[in-house]
């Protein structure tokens, strides 16, 4: 297949290796014999979302997030239509908040999100920076990652992670985390979560295939280093949970 990935604001929303989510997905899809084209969108730049297979936006600072939102609002209708039709997308870190109905900053100023989902985000003066170990209904293996945010997210009815044994979720410690609806994946976990979680990478790729009416092949290249890295981190976080 020819697969089109659209990467929104690769410099503005780029904290802590966010780009690697696109890099690892591209390599994975190419390993399955696909041709993958990544198109980047900068603020003010035109983009045609029609026919895109995957949309991505990474984490940014709270100020960068507002700048991204100011530009991204023009794509709101197209992104919602794409989501409704089953296009796969990942909004990671602070980018997740853009999908909701509002973002309230630490001074109380309210920004309109694109309203793909009804949840609301409220940012504060306290930062939640900590390891996360949780469970998703998408696959049996635990999800690992790192939370780095200053907000609480309310009103998510379909979280990506149903429960956390460690770390800060949408509304507080050990609460469900992220958002998942149709083929929309969103999580405030920072950095390259698709590298850190090979099963989540499978799930995203499967969503891309599903939207194309295809089935993800059973035989897939194994990324040994990612698998081994995941195993070590999962073990460390599990031990951490047990010691707490």
């Amino acid at each position: 297949m020819d697969i089109r990935i659209i990467h929104f604001y690769p410099d503005l929303m780029s904290l802590y290796g966010s780009y690697a989510n696109v890099a690892v997905l591209k390599r994975y899809l190419e390993g399955l014999g696909n041709t993958v084209k990544v198109e980047t969108v900068l603020p003010g730049q035109e983009a045609d979302l029609a026919g895109a297979d995957f949309l991505f936006m990474g984490a940014g600072t709270e100020r960068s997030q507002k700048a991204a939102l100011a530009d991204f609002a023009r794509f709101g209708s197209a992104v919602k239509a794409a989501a409704e039709s089953g296009t796969a997308m990942l909004f990671a870190g602070t980018a997740m908040e853009l999908l909701g109905s509002t973002i309230t900053d630490d001074e109380g100023k309210v920004y309109e999100g694109i309203g793909l989902a009804a949840f609301t985000s409220v940012q504060g003066k306290k930062r939640f920076a900590e390891d996360v170990y949780g469970a998703t209904g998408l696959f049996p293996e635990p999800v690992v990652g790192f939370m780095n945010k200053c907000s609480t997210v309310s009103g998510v009815e379909t979280p990506l992670l149903d429960s956390l044994s460690l770390g800060f979720g949408n509304e507080g410690e050990k609460t469900p985390e992220g958002f998942h609806w149709k083929n929309v994946f969103a999580s405030e976990l920072t950095g390259p979560i698709l590298v850190k979680n090979p099963r989540l990478l499978d799930a995203v790729a499967e969503a891309i295939y599903r939207h194309r009416g295809e089935t993800l092949p059973e035989e897939r290249p194994v990324d040994r280093w990612a698998e081994d890295g995941y195993a070590v981190t999962a073990e460390q976080l599990k031990l951490r949970c047990q010691s707490k």
């Binding site: 904290l15 780095n148 920072t190 590298v195």
Partner: protein, 443 residues
């Protein structure tokens, strides 16, 4: 106040006997007298240094220069840079009447905690070396740290700022007393920022795109916002010439010094220390005399031998991609065949985390050089390093994985005699340096 000082002095005395840290006596003193730092009589000069990188080195050089100028300097050599440690330092050097016996109080100050110390007193001079991605597991991100430092800045404090850093230079906005240090375009400059990510792509003030006339490393250089006018200012203390190959630095066109360590970091740290001391009235020749060929005592670089290998350990601070980039740039700049050992075993020595996202911010492709013959990853997170390297242009023939640090050292010892560079953090360096086959050498 008397009781708080007494308890602190006694606590410090006992602590030294039993080898305990330096923050506990201050903690007790603060319980007895919470505003003790307001009550004591501080020296005429209080210099604080903060920033993501270079604090310890800059403070060490400032102390050396000021002492050479005849000043009695008290500073937190042990690095206790939160309010409790600062309290211990101040009270230990105070008379029982509360007068600090020094000409200069010099403080290495934690970025996020400076506001707590400086609510009771304020520095006369505040050096901010830079602000960039560092310890995300504590600090969040650079703008979060910027916001945390802001309340620590008193209107009467003279700021000494890095003109080449687009973020920390914002501290000058609305502040009257500012002196700038920075580097002119020189032999190390590139036309545009380098690295895996570009934190200078957008203006920290208005988020409009920025352009660069040149960059010295990563996004540190001559930036200009296309919208609001935020730009590198004219500098008061300027590196007018830098030749890392021959190890020379020229300041303000007429002060030339030799660099004991040929790194762009060292250049900035020297310049920051020079600027601070000159602002304290130190003559150029006194300052340059001290920092000429100055070898830092804080041990971030360590020479050693391992079998037939001559080794250099470059301490890189995990979770700090620019520190890694700088050391990788140094390795890339060497000419002789070499091996590189990268160790990520404990991400931090102070707290637990399994977070390795920061590896993706490091420009490991800098090691894609013919003379880098072999790269070994070791430690608990060696697989994460391998995964990261699998996205570089470096041939998989060059790199390999050995989780056990001792086994990695044994493997190196058994083969070859090329130069060896070890890139790792404080949290992991002794796991190599204490191995029996590793023989430390004086610098």
């Amino acid at each position: 106040m008397f009781l708080a000082i007494l308890v602190c002095k006694l606590g410090r005395f006992v602590g030294k006997l039993v080898g305990k840290g330096s923050s506990m006596p201050g903690k007790f003193a603060l319980k007895i007298c919470p505003d003790i730092l307001r009550r004591v009589q501080m020296p005429p000069q209080i210099i604080a240094v903060t920033g993501s990188n270079g604090k310890t080195s800059t403070v060490e050089m400032i102390a050396a220069i000021l002492r050479a100028d005849g000043k009695h300097v008290v500073y937190n050599e042990e690095g206790s840079n939160q309010i409790e440690g600062v309290t211990t330092l101040v009270l230990t050097h105070a008379t029982m009447g509360g007068r600090v016996k020094a000409d200069v109080l010099l403080l290495e100050s934690d970025e996020r905690y400076a506001k707590f110390s400086f609510q009771f007193f304020h520095p006369t001079k505040f050096v901010i070396t830079n602000l960039y991605r560092d310890q995300l597991t504590r600090n969040g991100h650079p703008e979060w740290v910027y916001d945390a430092i802001l309340p620590a800045i008193h209107p009467e404090t003279e700021l000494i700022l890095n003109a080449d850093d687009p973020l920390s230079s914002c501290f000058a906005v609305g502040h009257d007393k500012v002196k700038w240090f920075g580097l002119d375009k020189c032999s190390v400059s590139a036309d545009a920022p380098t690295g895996v990510y570009h934190d200078g792509a957008y203006c920290p003030v208005c988020k409009a795109p920025m352009v660069y006339d040149y960059a010295h490393y990563n996004h540190i250089g001559a930036y200009r916002c296309t919208k609001c006018g935020h730009a590198k200012p004219a500098t008061d203390y300027t590196a007018t010439g830098v030749d890392l190959e021959n190890g020379t630095l020229t300041i303000d066109g007429d002060v030339t010094i030799q660099l004991a360590f040929r790194s762009i970091y060292n250049v900035y740290n020297i310049l920051a220390a020079y600027a601070a001391c000159r602002e304290c009235g130190v003559a150029p020749e006194t300052a340059s005399g001290v920092i000429n060929n100055y070898i830092l005592k804080n041990g971030r670089m360590q020479k050693f031998t391992l079998g037939r290998h001559h080794g250099t350990l470059l301490t890189s601070k995990h979770e700090n991609s620019i520190a890694y980039d700088t050391n990788l740039r140094y390795v890339a700049s060497t000419k002789a065949d070499c091996a590189v050992l990268i160790i990520v075993d404990a991400v931090s020595r102070k707290y637990f985390t399994s977070e390795t996202s920061w590896l993706w911010d490091i420009d490991f492709d800098q090691l894609n050089r013919g003379h880098v013959r072999k790269i070994i990853f070791s430690g608990r997170y060696c697989n994460d390093l391998a995964e990261r390297f699998s996205f570089t242009a470096i041939s998989p023939e060059v790199w390999s994985v050995q989780p056990d640090i001792a086994a990695a050292a044994a493997e190196l010892k058994a083969q070859g005699g090329e130069d060896l560079y070890v890139v790792t953090c404080f949290s992991d360096r002794d796991k190599l340096l204490t191995l029996p086959d590793v023989k430390k050498e004086a610098l």
